[in-house]
Symmetry: C2
């Protein structure tokens, strides 16, 4: 099920896979077609199973307005609205350190639009960095299936530049300041070795 | 607004305060009557403002089934259900370290019932400890307004004992293994000094 937000973004429920909308005779042998969120969730599940890290996506924030209580069955939420997240989507622990990130994707080939992020998230990233947490964004260029880890300090800096000039990060800057993540089968988006390299190796 | 879960637990939305149900002439000058969740949320907001820690409550997990898209207004969730949380309610960062906890209260005077916790949460606590995260529970005895921080290792141990014997933790054990938190005006439940003492002082 795909939910359109008022801002035109889409909400994907975790129960229904995007590739289930393909014709039945199109059998999929790879994970291609999974959303970035699904790819990261399965990666995180694998990390937990392997005892490598405990990182989860936070639930979608919802403002609940009306709830019904049918007899002998579960409470039903009858009216609720999507709320804008005040933090990033993913957080958890790796080797005792706090890890916090947001993941976004674009179909653009040469730049990453910054309107994917909003003020509250950028404020949260600053607060996390101030507490010495590990904070970054995962940026996927969907046409080439490249995923980069970019430290939040760069994202914040580009975001604040946006007020004056360009509304996106050049891909060449993502390549320069970010780290390309190896895409595989399991885990699909193996970002932990990059976290280890970028934040623990000094 | 109070929502009854099928299991008899109640869901408190953050918009409506419990003490708004008091008679209008009962003016409240203290924070008494706030739920444990509200007390912790205001404490966490204060910590963020003061730059002491970045710890937030995760949104209530909801399974969304049906969404309407009225023209020229926000998407409305028309059918959804409460899901059991697979992790604890609160997490964040303090001095670079990952901090994770669950908060529960009881009206009992001499023991804390363990049916306040469930298997998924206890499993999550084990995983966090394995990753060297700071993990604990905040236990409030409402009749005396005492709040204790108890390290997750003790909670896990008592929880696993539960399968064989008693269904609660004796208050004397909470006092013995836990740390009493100073209750004040701002912050209301000042647990960070205890975290500092218990996890950073060695």
């Amino acid at each position: 099920m795909t939910i359109r937000y008022p801002n035109g973004k889409r909400f994907e429920t975790s129960t229904v896979k995007k590739n289930q909308t393909k014709k039945p005779n199109q059998i999929t042998y790879s994970n291609r077609g999974m959303t970035l969120e699904e790819d990261i969730n399965t990666t995180n599940e694998w990390y937990v199973e392997q005892g490598l890290a405990v990182i989860h996506k936070k639930p979608t924030p919802v403002q609940i307005v009306q709830v019904d209580y049918p007899q002998r069955s579960a409470a039903v939420i009858k009216e609720a609205y999507f709320k804008q997240a005040s933090t990033t989507d993913y957080n958890g622990v790796y080797k005792g350190r706090y890890v916090d990130f947001e993941a976004k994707e674009t179909k653009n080939k040469t730049s990453f639009p910054l309107n994917n992020f909003h003020d509250h998230q950028v404020k949260h990233m600053k607060e996390v960095l101030r507490q010495d947490g590990i904070c970054f964004v995962l940026l996927r260029f969907t046409t080439t299936d490249e995923v980069y880890l970019l430290d939040a300090s760069y994202l914040i800096s580009f975001y604040e530049d946006m007020k004056h000039s360009r509304k996106s990060i050049r891909k060449s800057d993502v390549e320069k300041y970010g780290h390309l993540i190896k895409i595989g089968y399991q885990p699909r988006i193996d970002y932990l070795p990059i976290v280890q390299h970028a934040y623990f190796s000094e």
